[in-house]
Subunit: 306 residues, 2 copies
Amino acid sequence: MSLIIIGSVAFDAIETPFGKTDKIVGGAATYASLAASYFYKNTKIVGVVGDDFPKEAIDTFTEHGINTEGLQIKAGEKSFFWSGKYHNDMNSRDTLVTELNVLENFDPIIPDSYQDCEYLMLGNLTPIVQQTVINRLKNRPKLIVMDTMNFWMDIMMDDLLKTIKMVDVLAINDAEARQLSGEYSLVKAAKKILAMGPKYLIIKKGEHGALLFNEDQIFSAPALPLAEVFDPTGAGDTFAGGFIGYLAKVGTINFNNMKNAIIYGSALASFCVEKFGNERLLNLTDKEVADRINQFVNLSAFTIEA
Amino acid sequence: MSLIIIGSVAFDAIETPFGKTDKIVGGAATYASLAASYFYKNTKIVGVVGDDFPKEAIDTFTEHGINTEGLQIKAGEKSFFWSGKYHNDMNSRDTLVTELNVLENFDPIIPDSYQDCEYLMLGNLTPIVQQTVINRLKNRPKLIVMDTMNFWMDIMMDDLLKTIKMVDVLAINDAEARQLSGEYSLVKAAKKILAMGPKYLIIKKGEHGALLFNEDQIFSAPALPLAEVFDPTGAGDTFAGGFIGYLAKVGTINFNNMKNAIIYGSALASFCVEKFGNERLLNLTDKEVADRINQFVNLSAFTIEA
């Protein structure tokens, strides 16, 4: 049994008020699989890079126990490249460059050895590619988690809705939930989105935490208040990877485990933003993770005697 | 021993996407004292109205056990009047009319019977008037909670800082915390503001809940996700009144009780926004309050085994 993560594996060049990077390794599947690897040992990537992608970066996956058999390397082509500059508030950013390169005609090939997939994380890609992955798995995974973005709502809503109907958990941010539902109230938005198919909806609110909705329950998870957000790139993907990695580890899907998975995902995301790119996700210790989880527990616990 | 609440007692005319009111009774001290009255039975108002203020509104205070001896009634003058229109997102509003009237030369007179003050809530007024109240109390209250707004930061920062230095708890919103400290990060903002004097800082984040800071601890309180916010007017004052009313009831000031006080304040604020003005605060039952508190408990509780 395995956890498959599909998404971009790419180069980013990032500018924040704290500094600037050259091309560094990024991409949704990179962040998500590194995050998941802290909880679940059988994580596999589906993605595509060009032959400009460094072998050391692939070695990094392997060192974290991440299977890269499904990571296609296209000879003579270039990896996806994104460059962006964050504003002073770190909540908004300008995209400076987007070069799709190998992602433009990405055909997600599922190796036979991936057919044991029990948990599937669909990172943000075209809804068509996300659907193709589900269709190419011989057995429907026990849990499918999907990320997406406003861009697909703008240009291919029908395909997006078809894909959303096929998944168990949709994880999007508050602006995306409002756009997808046409409702400003997140409670009303959640109701409409759950009627589109998913059993669970996660609304990510950045520095304000996250909300988890299912039919009749809501969970509000805090975000750790941070003195410095050094680089927010990849925080959402790290969250998603930690979330599904934790669920793959515990193996039982219910609301309580989902709540904890959100806390684990949030904890890993809080590490991610402490340094540029995925640097902070490369060498976390069990103790660091446990201490961070404790901070989340202390942050939101209160005891009211009825 | 008593809880004194000083603030505006006023008329509001409110327009929201759901409807429109004529002049209705509002004001910070109105909302805060009604909220506090659900937890603490010896609440006293300091404020001023004109002789246009209806006797029935004063009777409403009395019926909730709120002492109005400190509410001056100025013959031949008019009560403070505010009129505003909320935008569709309910998070922003335009002020249409502000008539200071009796508030313009408000001299807060403290009746002798108020000198038993143990808990003091300074609603948003000029920092000079807030200071005057503290100075006119013969014994320094056990707990002073202060609200303020960006307007005073713009035009009388020195006086504001003097008043802030005299209080135990400052309760402001996130934009105000950023303006007061000059820091975007709320963690850094809190550090600077706590260095200004208060032992505790509450940062209110509206639909995103609230943060409580003291020297070395942070508490993140959720807000109840609501399908409809009918009218947000008075929610912050209701929060503050519920907060200090709960602390006055339990009588011991520590971080744990402050956390619970924030939950109780948030619960009352979540009622406040369900109807126009203070209507929803007039007849809450103990069961309604207890059920709402349970919703907050369920909303944010999770159990992670270490």
